[in-house]
Symmetry: C2
Amino acid sequence: MGSNIELLHGDIVYSESGDSLTVRENAILAVEDGKVRDIYAPDALPEDLRPLPVTDYGRSLIIPAFTDMHVHAPQYEERGIRMDLLLSDWLNQCTFPEEAKFADPDYARLVYRQFAQDLVRQGTLHAVVFATLHAGATDILMDLLEEQGIDAFVGKVNMDIHSPDFLCETAEESLRGTEAWLERHSGTESRVRPILTPRFAPTCSFPLLQGLGALAKKYHTGVQTHLVESKWEAAESVSMYPECGSDAGIYERAGLLGEGPSIFAHVIFPTAEDLRIMKKYGSFAVHCPDATTNIIAGIAPVAAEQAEGIRVALGSDVGAGHSLAVYRQAARAVQLSKLKEFYEPAESGTISFADAFYMATKEGGSLFGKTGSFEKGYDFDALVITGQEDAGVPLDAAGRLERFCYTGDDRDIAARYMRGKKM
Amino acid sequence: MGSNIELLHGDIVYSESGDSLTVRENAILAVEDGKVRDIYAPDALPEDLRPLPVTDYGRSLIIPAFTDMHVHAPQYEERGIRMDLLLSDWLNQCTFPEEAKFADPDYARLVYRQFAQDLVRQGTLHAVVFATLHAGATDILMDLLEEQGIDAFVGKVNMDIHSPDFLCETAEESLRGTEAWLERHSGTESRVRPILTPRFAPTCSFPLLQGLGALAKKYHTGVQTHLVESKWEAAESVSMYPECGSDAGIYERAGLLGEGPSIFAHVIFPTAEDLRIMKKYGSFAVHCPDATTNIIAGIAPVAAEQAEGIRVALGSDVGAGHSLAVYRQAARAVQLSKLKEFYEPAESGTISFADAFYMATKEGGSLFGKTGSFEKGYDFDALVITGQEDAGVPLDAAGRLERFCYTGDDRDIAARYMRGKKM
């Protein structure tokens, strides 16, 4: 039996690095067994491909699908409301009461179904997701994401101190529930995998964090959390755990790093020690520009983190961020880098659009394997983007991609492919 | 003959001031001869209205239409591309060459038609618009806006120094062309009116500005320009015209203020003298958050300007801004006020959503008469906004409005009314 080959024609744009976009206008991409075989000019197809039919997307863009590296599914109903609050008020008045509703599986199903559908609608085919502390609702979310056919890491949240009565577990309950949940999801072939998810240091006792560290080792599981996301959180974490020396040091000392991927949201006020630890473990910093602007004050030093060798990817951070569109976060990352440069001029400078698109695709995608680019052998996880031009005024492929990220929407996503299969 | 009355039912939201939204859920708004007569609970309609049919918008929002106080129509094709440049590069590499194309009436018609249609599509029914220095193309733009049935001030741009050869006039040409253009548009009943539009001080000689001052007096015409939009522009203006003492002082000394409205875009780095002059003439400062973030560095001190008694409205500033959606600028104004507060804490604090919506509707609308609110006697210039809720999770009217401003789009604008007439 021969391999399964499909040919797609369009204007192909992807990233190999953050330095520049790779643009192949009027080209044919060959997908073989779900992976990119190569990209050809239409008159330079190899012999064996010439007889095959071509799916012709004309001048539409074919680009890698997006990766959302930080999103809170149970906050989906909070998006775009009460956005003039600041972090602590927003957590206490909006988020904690909303998350408490996920004790009810029916409510969880209702919200999570819409969330999972809208994630795909916005072209996000890989995601790293916070659920709530409710293991049952977390299972529902994982099932719904699996139904959508996307790749995800999903976390049952852990929080045992400094949390409201209605949204809190004891360390023992939390660890027992987490282990049972890990058991249920271990040894499966599912592309929706569990990840340990202490909310952040201020709501986690050290026994809880150490217990999670033991689970990380036992189940070879990674960790996601929020790191130095606000001046308050950074100061609080270090004052609770002075012996750890830094916010990242808390997770290292608890044994949570190095057993799987480590994904730190925000990283707005990192110390040199935070960066050293992140680099040591190949951690991701997740830049969430809209969330940063809405609820959390400050702008992550993205270019400086990159210069230190830290991998920086993008997150929607719904509900602190208001939109699931990761492509819009690429635009917003460029915008915020201008303001960062204005207020805190640094050698590392601003972020180019090419770099922002790279963060939204290949950099984030690297967590999930070979996805987020169209280099040979990469999974063909892709979107077809139409429009972006006005009648009579042509725009090159790179321009259309940039305009899509700034002003496009889900109407412009004409097709989605996951490992070569049209969704 | 009796008056023309129409009844509309829905969830009605508007601003009387920037302090809070006025919300009337499940209410009936009576429009009489194109103006708001009053708003009633369904069971409290006065006798004379009870027999009339009601247009039922259910739980949709009925809100005032938006006013865009600063937008460059000839930069429409630039939106969302090359957004990682900064102001001077963007002007020289992108904007000036693009504006030069408007010497060709066919190109002007092509772009301006799309611009005018998209403006209305985004719910902007009042606008203050820059054209280019080409009077012919400016006439085409004015005709197309009039065809759309909206209210606008439109300016033929003046620039005679420090401008590229391909986009420059002599002061004499510029004044002669401007006067002929004002003549063509004077004495008409059109709701699309001319406004004097020196680009900004760095591209205008004093003889040109004084000549425009004389035209302002002769034709009772207002003025729009850019004011202290960047540190460079602020410093350049004052160094070119040290005797004027401030950027706003240049226009005052040239006799351009007080003959009609004065509209200053950006006002990011105002001196006390700028603010004093603006207050004296009742000038508008136009806050353009996306443009500020994209191309121009810095965040306007909106709350501080308001505290000084300056009227601050919102502008899309396409093409430095990437989207015509003024409602999105309302969201962005809240966002940027958080960053402003983070970097430059001030007593005036952040902007509430209610205030941002007020700026986008009633404050900007006040330039055009009684529009932008639903207080009695206001023109019924309105939008009907659908959606914003997910299945099974209800959201109050204020929440739906805020979510629309953050994440909605033109699909959600189900109807547009101009002076009571459905468009």
